[in-house]
């Protein structure tokens, strides 16, 4: 039950994009069509889970033992960037189909704030190993939900008669704001 609450809170209530405003770069960059954003959501979930897992190990077995918690951020940046690189190489070699689907997105996420944010929040909230993984998967799914919603809206938007000055990113920002407002309605539903 605890895990379920954590998961739902990460997906909806504390949605990383729409309530914490992390990962906005890819949120706007890749939300032009639903298929691409779906792939992006999956890639982010995978990367986030793997890096949270490693980050938890590094934090608890290295940084905490050595009293070096002030190094958390910089070590995590290093860790995530190289994990993504490694993941990319492995996928490219062994699962080319998956690479064709994710390849370009993986590079985009390499040093993205949402991927760094989740391990950092895991550490700050003193989550256990399994809790951090559930939280990471939940956040990834939340990101996926947000970006797919946004992409569907933007696909509809292509038909709309948008004023020239707002065309493109301008209207996308307004849309994201409205989406965030509606997600704000969930706040307070689950407190963690």
């Amino acid at each position: 039950m605890e895990y379920l609450t954590l998961f739902i809170s990460a997906v909806i209530v504390n949605n990383f994009v729409l309530t914490r405003f992390l990962g906005l770069c890819i949120f706007f960059g890749v939300s032009k069509n639903v298929n691409a954003s779906f792939g992006m959501g999956m890639a982010v979930t995978a990367v986030m889970t793997i890096s949270s897992l490693l980050a938890w190990l590094v934090y608890n077995f290295v940084l905490l033992r050595l009293n070096l918690t002030f190094l958390t951020t910089i070590v995590f940046v290093l860790l995530i960037a190289s994990t993504v690189q490694l993941l990319e190489m492995v996928i490219k070699k062994h699962v080319p189909t998956l690479y064709n689907m994710w390849g370009i997105y993986l590079m985009l996420i390499a040093v993205n704030c949402v991927v760094l944010g989740v391990p950092l929040i895991n550490v700050e909230s003193n989550y256990t190993f399994s809790k951090s993984i559930v939280h990471a998967i939940g956040s990834g799914v939340g990101f996926g939900v947000a970006i797919v919603l946004m992409a569907s809206l933007r696909e509809k938007l292509r038909l709309a008669d948008v004023p020239k000055s707002l065309d493109g990113l301008g209207i996308a920002f307004i849309l994201a704001g409205m989406l965030a407002l509606s997600f704000l309605g969930f706040s307070g539903m689950i407190s963690i």
């Binding site: 070590v75 290093l78 190289s82 490694l86 490219k92 070699k93 038909l159 008669d161």
Partner: protein, 285 residues
């Protein structure tokens, strides 16, 4: 002091470990990319139209280099020149590309076609089509909001004053982008040099088609009877020309002469000859 040293040590060590792992992985998981792919991509027109059936020029270049079964002549905008170069680069023999041109199968201009309601929404065919199939009584006809015009990567389409898109035969590369975006499927690709073309897409029965549009194909079959080569068939109340038979056998087409509504007419002749005649007097070629 001790903490500073520890911090330094940890950073150096982590950096070193990750660096080494990555360096090792780079060698171990190296995937060789054929440099030929980039050469082939340079030759392609890079309209990213996707008419070759791949996601873009890069994807086609990759496929044509790596897969021996992929022919070098799939690039339709590139025509024979590109097919030849791709063939030379990949060592494949290039079969000739069949040049195509967009053909709007509708003559239902503002005067000809009956409208069932006034559409005042978003000026886009896809949007209009969502509302009971658009404003025209004929559910197969061109809606005239120019989704094809907006999506043409080569600027070959313009919206004529009669509310039908006009194809510029000199600019149209036959990439087929308009074919995919048209919600009604009014635009098709027809081979350059086709003798006749049917300028209607209506699959309604004769009486209904005629009521909706004065120049509709009513499926009477007169053109079929008049074609001695059997190039014309009737499919769902609509005349369909088999271009292969039509182009190979017929020199003097007479099939269109008897058409009661003028739905079938001479097509624009080979654009290379610069002899763009359209006897049917139809703006949308």
């Amino acid at each position: 002091m001790q903490i500073a040293i520890m911090a330094l040590l940890v950073m150096v060590l982590t950096g070193l470990i990750f660096g080494l792992v990555l360096a090792f992985a780079n060698k171990k998981f190296a995937v060789e990319v054929n440099p030929l792919i980039h050469l082939v991509e340079d030759v392609l027109p890079k309209g990213q139209c996707g008419s070759c059936g791949y996601a873009g020029c890069m994807a086609y270049a990759e496929a044509v280099v790596l897969n021996p079964d992929v022919p070098p002549n799939l690039c339709i905008p590139g025509k024979e020149a590109v097919a030849k170069m791709v063939g030379e680069l990949t060592g494949k023999t290039a079969a000739a590309v069949e040049p195509r041109i967009a053909h709007v199968r509708c003559s239902g201009s503002v005067e000809n076609a009956v409208t069932k309601y006034q559409y005042a929404g978003v000026q886009d065919c896809v949007a209009a089509n969502l509302l009971q199939g658009g404003q025209k009584s004929c559910q197969y006809g061109c809606l005239g909001f120019g989704t094809c015009v907006k999506n043409c990567p080569f600027g070959a389409l313009t919206m004529g004053p009669n509310g039908l898109p006009h194809v510029d035969p000199d600019k149209c590369t036959g990439c087929g982008k308009c074919e995919t975006v048209c919600p009604k499927g009014v635009i098709t690709m027809q081979p350059i040099g086709a003798k006749v073309s049917v300028n209607c897409n209506s699959k309604d029965r004769g009486a209904v088609a005629k009521k909706n549009c004065s120049v509709a194909c009513i499926g009477c079959g007169l053109c079929k009877k008049n074609c001695q080569y059997g190039a014309i068939t009737l499919v769902n109340n609509l005349a369909v020309v088999d271009y292969k038979i039509c182009m190979d056998k017929c020199d003097n087409p007479t099939c269109f002469a008897k058409c009661p509504t003028g739905a079938i007419g001479l097509a624009v002749r080979d654009k290379y000859i610069g002899n763009a005649v359209n006897v049917a007097g139809n703006v949308a070629v």
